[in-house]
Amino acid sequence: MKPTFPHMGTIGVLGEAILRRFGREVILPPKTSKRTLTLGSRYSPEFACLPLKVTLGNLIEALERGADTIVMLAAGGPCRFGYYATLQNLILKNLDYEYELITLDYDMLNNLRKLKRLAQGQNWFQIGEAFRFGFLKLLTLEKMERSAHRIRPYEIKKGSTTKAYDEASRIIRRTFSFRELRWAKREAISLLKKIPQDKTRNPLKVGVVGETYTVLEPYVNLEVERKLGEMGCEVHRPVWATEYMISMLPIFSRWGPRRKYRKAAQPYLKEEPGGECIVSIGGTILYAKRGFDGIVHIAPFTCLPEIVAQGILSKVRKDLGIPILTLVLDEHTAQAGLITRLEAFVDLLQRKQARQKMKGKQG
C-alpha cells in the first residue's frame, strides 16, 4: 500500500509523519504547480470551489506517481468540504484510476478501525506516539513560520527571510523521530536568527484572515503573506493547521482554540455558518482592537462562508475603522493584478500610519 493525500499548506507534514511512522511508503503529490491547477480544473465541475480543483490535481499527480491509496478527511458540513472526497472519488473513477479510498469521517469508532489498519499492526501506544510526533513536528514548523512573519519586514536583504525559512522548513520536514526533530529545531532557529535585520524600522501590522485552505496554501494565495512581508508588513493570522485540526475534533468544537474568535464575533454573528467565517470575523475584530493597521481577507471564488463574512466585515470595517482588503481567488487570478492591489493597499496603510504619527506629535 502506497498512500497519498492532497496538499493543504503544512497539514501534509502531519499526515506524512504519521504514515511514515506507521512504516508506510508515502507518495506525496509533487508541489502544487501550474500543471496541478490545469489538471484539477479540467476535470472538476466548473463552479466547484478552488480547493476542490487544486486538491483533485494533487491526487491525479500522486496517482501518476504510483500512489494506490488515497487518505482523506471527509468530515464536515454544512460546507462543501465534507463532500470533496465523494465527488473526487467519482471523478477519478470515471477517469479509470485504480486505488483504494480511505476517508476519515465523524464516526470515530470507524476511524480508529481504519487507523489500526493503516498502522499495520502497531499497538495503540505506537499509534499515539505517531500522532504526538506528527503534531510536534507541525507545531515546530508553524513556530518557524511565525518567526519568519515577524522577521520579514525587518530583513535588510529582500528575500533573505524566505530563503532561511525554506531551508529551516526543509530541515524540519526531513525528520522522522523525536530526537532528529529536536536537533532540527535548534538548527532551524539559528538559521532564522542569523538573518540580518534593521530594527529601526517601524513595520505595519497586517492580519491575514480567510478560508483555511487558501490561507494555508501559498501557491494558491500567490504567497500573499510573503508579499506583504516584503512590502514591509508584519503579518499575523488566526488560521493555523494545528488549531484547525484540533477544532475539527467534536470534543473541541465548543471549547477549542476558536472560542476567543467566537466570543469576539458574537455582536455581529450569532451562529456559526461553518467554515472559517467566524474566525475571519472574530480575528478581524481582535486584530482591530489590538491596533493593527489593516486586514487582508482572502477567499476562493463562490466560497459560501466567506461571502457571509464579507457582508459582515463591511460593518466591522465601519464600526472599528480598520481598512480591509478582500481578495477573491480563482484559477485565473493573475500575479500582476494581485501585486498592484496589495501595493495600493499597503500604500494606503502607510499614509494612514504617517498621518496618525503627525497627529500624535502635534497633540
Partner: protein
C-alpha cells in the same frame, strides 16, 4: 392595529409559507408578503449585496428592501437545519446577521434560531418566534399546532401532483385546476432548489413553459422522504444539505423509475452545493439512455429566448425517442 410581519417572497417562502402565515395570523399578526420577483426587485438586491453570490441570495435582499417600510417586523429565521441530520447551506445561518450588517436601518428582524439537526423543532424556538405577538406559551403552541395542520394539508396537495407554486396559490385562495382534468402528454421531472425552481423570475417561467408544451411536472416534493433516501443510498456519503439531498434523491428516483420521459435540473449560477451535486446527477443521467436529461444553469444574464430554444430541442428529443421506441415495439410485435 395588528402588528405587521413581513415575509420576503424568496428562499424558504416556497417551502414554508403556509406554515408561517398561519402561525402568525393565528397569533393576531398581519402577514405581508413582498410582491413577486421583478427585474426591479432583483436590481435593488444586487446593489446592496456585498460580494459575489448566488441569485437567490441577491433576490432575498431585494425583497427585504421592498418590504422594509411596510412592516413592523421582518421574519428571517436563522436556519441551520430544517430536518434531522441535514443542514442548509451556510448562507442561511448567516442571513439575518448579514442583512443587519449591510442594512442597519431595517425594521427589527425576527431571527428565530432553528437547528433541528439533532433534536427536532424545539418549543423554545416556537416560543421565540411567537413571543412578540402573544406572551402566552399555550396560545403560541396552539397557533403552531394549527399551522402544522394547515402545512400538512399543503404538503398532501403537492403529493397529489400539483407543484408547490400552485399549492401556494391554492392556499391563498386562487383556483388551481385539478391534475386529472389536464391534458398532458409528456412527463417531465423538475429538480433543483425550490426557491430557484418555483420563483418564476429565477426559473424564467419554466413551469409555465412546460405546461404550454403539455407536460406533466414531477417534483421532489411529490415523493416521500423514504423514497428520496432510497434514491441516494448508492452514494458513498449521504448528502447533508436538505435541498441537495432532495434534488439528487428525486433525480435518481425518477431516472430509475419508468414514470418520466425527461429530467430537468435547474441550478442557479454560483450555488455552492449544486456546483458539486450537478456532477453526480450528470454522471448518473449520462449512464441512463432512456431518459432525456438537461441541466440549466441560470444567472441574471440568462435570456428567456435561450431557454425556449433549449426546451424546444429537449421536447423534440423526447418525441423522437418515443417514436423510435414505438417503432421498435412494432417491429418486435411482428
Amino acid at each position: 392595529m395588528a402588528i405587521r410581519v413581513g415575509i420576503p417572497r424568496a428562499l424558504l417562502y416556497y417551502r414554508f409559507y403556509p406554515l408561517w402565515k398561519t402561525f402568525f395570523t393565528e397569533l393576531g399578526a398581519e402577514v405581508i408578503v413582498s410582491e413577486p420577483t421583478t427585474q426591479e426587485i432583483f436590481r435593488k438586491g444586487l446593489k446592496k449585496f456585498i460580494g459575489d453570490t448566488c441569485l437567490p441570495m441577491k433576490l432575498v435582499f431585494g425583497h427585504v428592501i421592498t418590504l422594509a417600510d411596510k412592516v413592523d417586523y421582518l421574519f428571517i429565521p436563522r436556519l441551520v437545519s430544517i430536518e434531522k441530520d441535514t443542514y442548509l447551506c451556510p448562507h442561511f445561518a448567516g442571513l439575518p446577521d448579514v442583512l443587519r450588517a449591510i442594512m442597519p436601518d431595517l425594521p427589527p428582524i425576527l431571527d428565530t434560531y432553528f437547528n433541528v439537526r439533532k433534536k427536532g423543532v424545539t418549543m423554545r424556538s416556537i416560543y421565540e418566534a411567537g413571543k412578540r405577538f402573544d406572551k402566552n406559551p399555550r396560545r403560541i403552541y396552539l397557533a403552531y399546532q394549527k399551522a402544522q395542520e394547515v402545512y400538512k394539508k399543503f404538503l398532501e396537495r403537492i403529493r397529489d401532483g400539483i407543484t408547490p407554486q400552485e399549492a401556494i396559490q391554492a392556499f391563498d385562495g386562487e383556483e388551481v385546476p385539478p391534475v386529472k382534468e389536464r391534458k398532458e402528454r409528456l412527463n417531465i421531472a423538475l429538480v433543483g432548489n425550490p426557491y430557484t425552481v418555483y420563483d418564476p423570475f429565477s426559473s424564467l417561467n419554466i413551469i409555465q413553459k412546460l405546461r404550454k408544451l403539455e407536460a406533466r411536472i414531477y417534483t421532489s416534493e411529490m415523493i416521500p422522504d423514504e423514497t428520496i433516501e432510497e434514491g441516494i443510498r448508492a452514494l458513498s456519503k449521504r448528502i447533508y444539505w436538505t435541498f441537495g439531498k432532495e434534488t439528487v434523491g428525486a433525480a435518481f428516483h425518477y431516472l430509475d423509475s419508468k414514470e418520466i420521459d425527461g429530467l430537468i435540473y435547474i441550478i442557479s449560477f454560483e450555488c455552492g452545493p449544486d456546483s458539486l451535486l450537478k456532477e453526480i446527477v450528470d454522471d448518473k443521467a449520462r449512464k441512463n439512455k432512456k431518459v432525456a436529461y438537461m441541466s440549466l444553469v441560470i444567472d441574471e444574464h440568462t435570456g428567456e429566448t435561450g431557454i425556449d430554444t433549449r426546451l424546444d430541442a429537449f421536447v423534440e428529443m423526447i418525441k423522437r425517442r418515443r417514436r423510435s421506441k414505438k417503432m421498435e415495439g412494432e417491429k418486435n410485435g411482428k
